[in-house]
Subunit: 339 residues, 2 copies
């Protein structure tokens, strides 16, 4: 078992200003660096370092390599009613995705639903970011992305489909209920962190070199044969998400996206639903509250833990991290400081 | 092991005319009986007897009980741009769903996307039916339904969420690529048929009375503790699908729907995407074809079986069954003949 790295807590503002400094140094404008730094820092505040501080150095490297263009802005390719196609022009994934989310809400303001399909964009880091963004503005929201080939189809030995994260979000008490899940049972980030902590997975998460299902994250990282969530179900959903992202955006499909080491030019879909003018009784807020109240009445198998809705725990983590500082490994922080 | 029942093959027209006769006898009009009989028969032709001939007697019983109203037609409650709310008025689930699918496509014709949210409707039988319906007309399509409480939340012992089937479909070569999956790893229909055939599940599908995961379908049917597909992922997605169906339609949520023995008045969402006018290069047909060609290049783990896209096998089953007759158990057919 490897020894876990020392964890330290860094204040939100301090972390954000370091990200800002580095983003400026690679060519981002002040407003773009501000927004991008905010997204990376909030991902850490929400407990998702894998798509925050731990991923930031790679994001900067991809910018220096020219895969991420710091000054690119999305351009409108085609519009038809509530459906718009945009080209991300290889801009920063988080900025493009935040823009597309805002634009989908604007369309929905006029049109009931609003769909933005985005081609030639980049990794959006944490998909949940955009679910929270829309739901906090009062919209119901769905979005997804395709990825490079990082998962085998069901019954296959070689990775030809993506893990294509899918997000659904609804407003709740000024915050949100958000599900953000990749089509693999575990993300590569999770496998890596479980491996480096010397832990086994709670359930089998892929196949080893001998073709057997295993709960050893290191063995799975050797084969890239991660298990689709729900076996054939997650694999099938991944394929349909890729096809729909590709045809709606007119962008690249998983099999056309460059190797995962330099994944860029992905395709994404953002759909906002304007729920502010619907004809509902009781109110939407009350409907959701009743659903959550019923969920909370569940009898837990382990009597020491309660049943939570997706996103419920994030609120607790965020509050604590904003008050006490965001926990990161000292090595990760040192790396940022030296960039 | 129980002895499997004798299987016989019944021609499409013969089966459909029996369904038609019975539907007329419980109060359906000729056009409604025709459409409804067609949907039930096609489900069988596609190999889904669990939502065809095997479910038909219960559908008729629910009609006689007054849960399904044979002459009800959906009524428009509210419209706002590309988003419409309809009341199903407790009409037949398959007729209401087919109507909502058509209506979503009509809205998308004008508006790019079209969303119909349907309250107070009934079990739609097989969700894939509506995916095929829309994709064969050239639309990309998503729909889902909520259900009664038939699955525990992740970590819970009592069923408080639904298995809420989710469908995505796109056109392909005049037919369709369709994924149709419930949020439980196995449907109750599958558990029942595996149990009655004396088979174990290929992977664990739920928990037994001792709280252990099991591949014995009979043990799971005793507890109703079915396993969500992808564990916490399927459970979380189920909750979000229920919340969105409830708030978009203004209908009942899973916790408000009557006991599964008389499940009725469910909420559903249908979203059509008009892909006929998009700005794509290469063409949509060619994009999808390239994706499928790449998928088919997968190296199968079992060299005797090829990797297929969702719906690929349905086409083969349908062709054979339409040519040679639809295989059903003689007992199920006898039951229909005597109704």
């Amino acid at each position: 078992m490897e020894i876990p790295e020392k964890s330290i807590r860094i204040g939100y503002d301090k972390m954000k200003s370091e990200f800002f400094r580095i983003l400026i140094s690679v060519g981002f404008s002040e407003p773009n660096a501000e927004r991008c730094a905010e997204i990376f820092t909030m991902n850490c505040a929400d407990g998702v370092n894998s798509h925050g501080i731990n991923r930031f150095p790679r994001f900067i490297m991809n910018t220096r390599q020219g895969f991420v263009k710091p000054e690119a802005v999305p351009s409108l390719i085609h519009e038809f009613g509530s459906l718009e196609q945009w080209d991300g022009n290889l801009g920063a994934g988080p900025l493009n995705a935040a823009f597309a989310t805002d634009r989908a809400m604007e369309i929905a303001d006029e049109n009931g639903t609003g769909l933005v399909a985005l081609r030639n964009t980049n990794h959006w880091m944490r998909g949940g970011t955009y679910g929270w963004q829309a739901a906090k503005k009062g919209f119901a929201f769905i979005c997804w992305t395709n990825t490079c080939q990082n998962m085998p189809a069901w019954g296959a030995a070689d990775p030809r489909i993506g893990n294509n994260p899918f997000i659904m979000a609804v407003p709740y008490k000024g915050e949100a209920i958000v599900i953000d899940f990749a089509m693999s049972q575990y993300s590569y980030g999770k496998l890596e962190s479980m491996k480096s902590d010397g832990n086994k997975l709670p359930y089998p998460g892929g196949f080893n070199r001998q073709g057997q299902m295993t709960d050893d994250p290191g063995e799975i990282l050797e084969t890239w044969r991660v298990l689709p969530a729900g076996y054939w179900k997650g694999a099938g959903l991944s394929l349909l998400l890729d096809i729909m992202a590709t045809i709606l955006s007119g962008g690249l499909s998983t099999h056309q996206i460059h190797a995962c080491s330099s994944e860029h030019s992905v395709s994404q879909v953002f759909i906002a639903f304007n729920i502010s003018k619907l004809h509902n009784f009781p109110s939407i807020e009350s409907s959701i509250h009743q659903i959550i109240e019923d969920l909370h009445k569940s009898i837990p198998v382990d009597s020491s833990s309660n049943i939570r809705y997706p996103g419920e725990n994030v609120l607790r983590i965020r509050k604590k991290n904003l008050e006490e500082g965001i926990p990161v490994s000292s090595a990760a922080w040192e790396k940022i400081r030296n960039m």
